[in-house]
Symmetry: D5
C-alpha cells in the first residue's frame, strides 16, 4: 500500500556539527536499507529545500508509522502523510 | 528532469454530464499516452479526493507547462508544481 | 485499518429541495449499511456544523477511496483523511 | 458528552531525556486510568506524527478542561477541541 | 454550559429581497425568544461586519447543535463554536 | 463601549516557576480589580487552552490599549481585539 | 476615535454596468461627504488593487458600524477593522 | 509617494532591559525626527498590540527601504509594506 | 522604479469564447506595447499556471496602478504587488 | 532555464556579529560571481524586508539546488522556488 510523505528537515543551529553529521549518516544508511527492501520506493529532493517527497510501500498505517518515527532525523522533521490509491488512468498497478 | 505535480479537479455542478464524461475520457487517453511515452512517470490517486500526485519527466519548465496546460481537465484544475532534484540518499538516479 | 475522516457538506442553495432530500436519504441509508458492516465504525456530528468526524475500518487506502467516493453527497463534500495507527497508550487494539 | 480532541506534542530538544521519559510514563499512566474510567473513550495515533486524535466522554466543558490541563505533557502540547453531537445517521447513541 | 459562537452571514446577491427580509425577521424573532429564555445569553454585532459574537448557555453539545441549525439564516452562515469553561480569575460563575 | 478580546498565554518553558507564579498571581489580582470596576465585563476560559475570551467595557481604544498592555502576562500573550457594536436583535443594550 | 479600515471591493461580473456605475457614483458622493465632515479622515488607493486603506474618526464602534454598513458598495466589500490608539512616539494627537 | 507600513515588534524575553530601553529611546527619537521632516506622515498604535500602522511619504522604494532598515528596532520587527496611490474619491491629494 | 507583480488569471467558465479570445488578444497587444516602451520590463509564465511574474519599471505607485487597472484581463485577475529596491549585492543598477 | 526564487533571511539574534559579517561578505562575493557567470540573472531587494526576489538561469533543477544550498546564508534562509516558462506575450525569449 502506498503513501506519499513530504519531509522537511529543520536542524537547529545549536546542534553540534559532529552530532548532525552522525544523524545524517545514520539517516542515509537507514534510507538506503529501506529502499533496497522496497519499502521506501521513491525518494526525491525538493529543489532548493532541505526537504523530500517520498513514496512508501508498506503493509499499512502501523508499519508506516514505525518506519517514519524510526528515522534518525525524525525529531527534527515536519512530516505530512497522504494515503495513495490506485488511479483509474494509471497504466501500472500501485 | 522531474517535477512533482499535485492536481485537484473541481468540476462545477453545472457542467452537463455528457461534457464531463467526454472530458474525463479525453483526460484518460491523454494521460495514458503520456505515461506510455515515459513523460508522465507516475500517477497516484489521493485517497478520498478527486486529486492526484503525479511525477513528470520532461526536458524542462517549458515542456512541463505545455503538457499541463493541454490537459483536457486543465480549466477545472488547481495545480501545484514542485521541481525535484537528485536526492543524495536515493539508490536510483532520477 | 483505521482512518479518521472529516466531512464538510456544502449543498448549493440552487439544489432543488427534492433532489437534496433524495441525496440525504440515500446518504443515510448508505451510512447505516456501512456502519452495520463495521466499516464505518464511528460517526459524530460536529456541533453547529453540517459536518462530521468519522472513523472507517477498511482493508486499506483503495477500499477507503471507493467507499468515500461512493457517498451520495460526495460531490458536495470537502473531505480530509488522516491514517490512524495503534497508540502505545491505548488500552484497546485498533 | 463527547468531544474530539487533537493533541500534537512538541517536546523541546533541550528537555533532558530522563525528564522526557518521566513525563511520557506519567502521561501513559494518566491516559490509561482515564480510559479505564470511560472518560477517555478513544485514543488513536496519527500515522507518522507525534500526535493523536482522542474522543472524551465527560460531563461538560469544565470537566474536559480539567482533564486536558492535567495531562503531564500538557505544557508541550498544541490542542484543538471540537464538541460533538449525536449524528442523525449514526446507528449508535453517542 | 457556555459556548462562544461566531456567526458570519453571507447572503447571496441572488436572494430575492422579500425572501431576505422574511429570513431576517424570522431570525430576529428566534434570537429574541432564545435570549428571553436565557439560552442565548449575549449577542454582539462585530463592528463593520455582518457577523456577531454570541454566548449560548445550554445543556450541552446536542442542544447547542439543535439551536444553531434551527437558525433561519443558518444555511447562509459560517459558524465557529468554542466551548467555554469557568475561568479561575473570574469573579462570577459561568 | 465594548470589545471582544481573545488572549492566548504562551509562557516559555525557561521562565522560572517562582516568576511564573508571581506573574499569575498579579494577573489574577489585576483581572479581578478590573472586573469589580466593571471594565472587564466578562472573562471565560477557552476549554482545553491556556486562553480566554474577554469582553471589556471602556471609554474607547486608548483606554483599552492601556488596560491590555498593563496586564502582568502581556509580554507572554498573543491578543486579538474585535470592536463590538449594538446588535439590532439584542434585547439588552451593550 | 480612530479606526483603520481596509476595504476590498469584489463586484460580480454579472452586475449590470449601469447598476455598477450608479453604485460607484453613490459611493463616491457618500465618501466625499464623510470626508468633508471629517469622519472619513484618510482615503488611499492600494496600488494595483480595487481596495483602499481608510482612517475613520468617529465617536465609537457603533457610529463606525453605521457608517460602514451604509456604504453603497458595502454588500460587495470585504472589510477589516483595526481600532487605533495614540502612539507614544507620534508628534501629533490622534 | 505614499506607503502604508504595518510594523509588529517582537522583543525577545532574553533582551536585557537596559538594551531594550536604549533601543526604544533611539526608536522614538528617530521616529520623531522623521515625522518632523514630513517623511513619516502618520503613526498610529494598534490598540492592544505592540504594533503600529504608519504612512510614509518618500521619494520611492529605495528611500523607503533605507528608512525602514535603519529603524533601531528593525531587527525585532515584522513589517509589511503596501504602496498607495491616489484614490479617485479622495478630496485631498496624496 | 521597479515593482514585482504576480498576476493570476481566473476566467469564469461562463465567459463566451469569443469574448475571452478578444480579451486575450487585447491583453497581448497591451502587454507588448508596454514592453516595447520599457515599462513592463520582464514577463515570465509560471510553469503549469495561468499566471505570470512581471517586473514593471514606472515612475511610481500611481503610474503602476494606472497600468495594472488598464489591463484588459484586470477584472479577472488576482494581483499582488511588491515594491523592489536596489540590492547591495546586485552588479547592475535597478 | 529560468526560476524565480524568493529568499527571506532570518539571522538569529544570537549569531555573533563577526560571524554574521563574514557570512554576509561571503554571500555577496558568491552572489556577484554567479551574476557575472550569468546564472543569477536578476537580484532585487524587497523594499522594507531582509529578502530578495531573484531569477536564476541554470541547466535545470539539480543545478539550481546545488547553487541555492551552497549559499553562505542558506542555513538562515526560507526559500521558495517557482519554475518559469516562456510567456506567449513576452517580446523577448527567456
Amino acid at each position: 500500500m502506498l503513501y506519499m510523505v513530504h519531509m522537511q528537515v529543520n536542524l537547529p543551529a545549536t546542534l553540534p556539527k559532529a552530532e548532525a553529521d552522525r544523524l545524517k549518516a545514520d539517516e542515509k544508511a537507514y534510507a538506503q536499507a529501506l529502499q533496497r527492501e522496497g519499502k521506501w520506493r521513491h525518494l526525491w529532493r525538493v529543489a532548493g529545500q532541505y526537504a523530500n517527497y517520498s513514496v512508501f510501500d508498506v503493509a499499512g498505517n502501523d508499519e508506516l508509522h514505525d518506519i517514519l518515527t524510526s528515522l534518525p532525523l525524525y525529531p527534527y522533521m515536519s512530516l505530512s502523510v497522504t494515503p495513495l490509491a490506485q488511479h483509474p488512468s494509471a497504466i501500472a498497478a500501485n
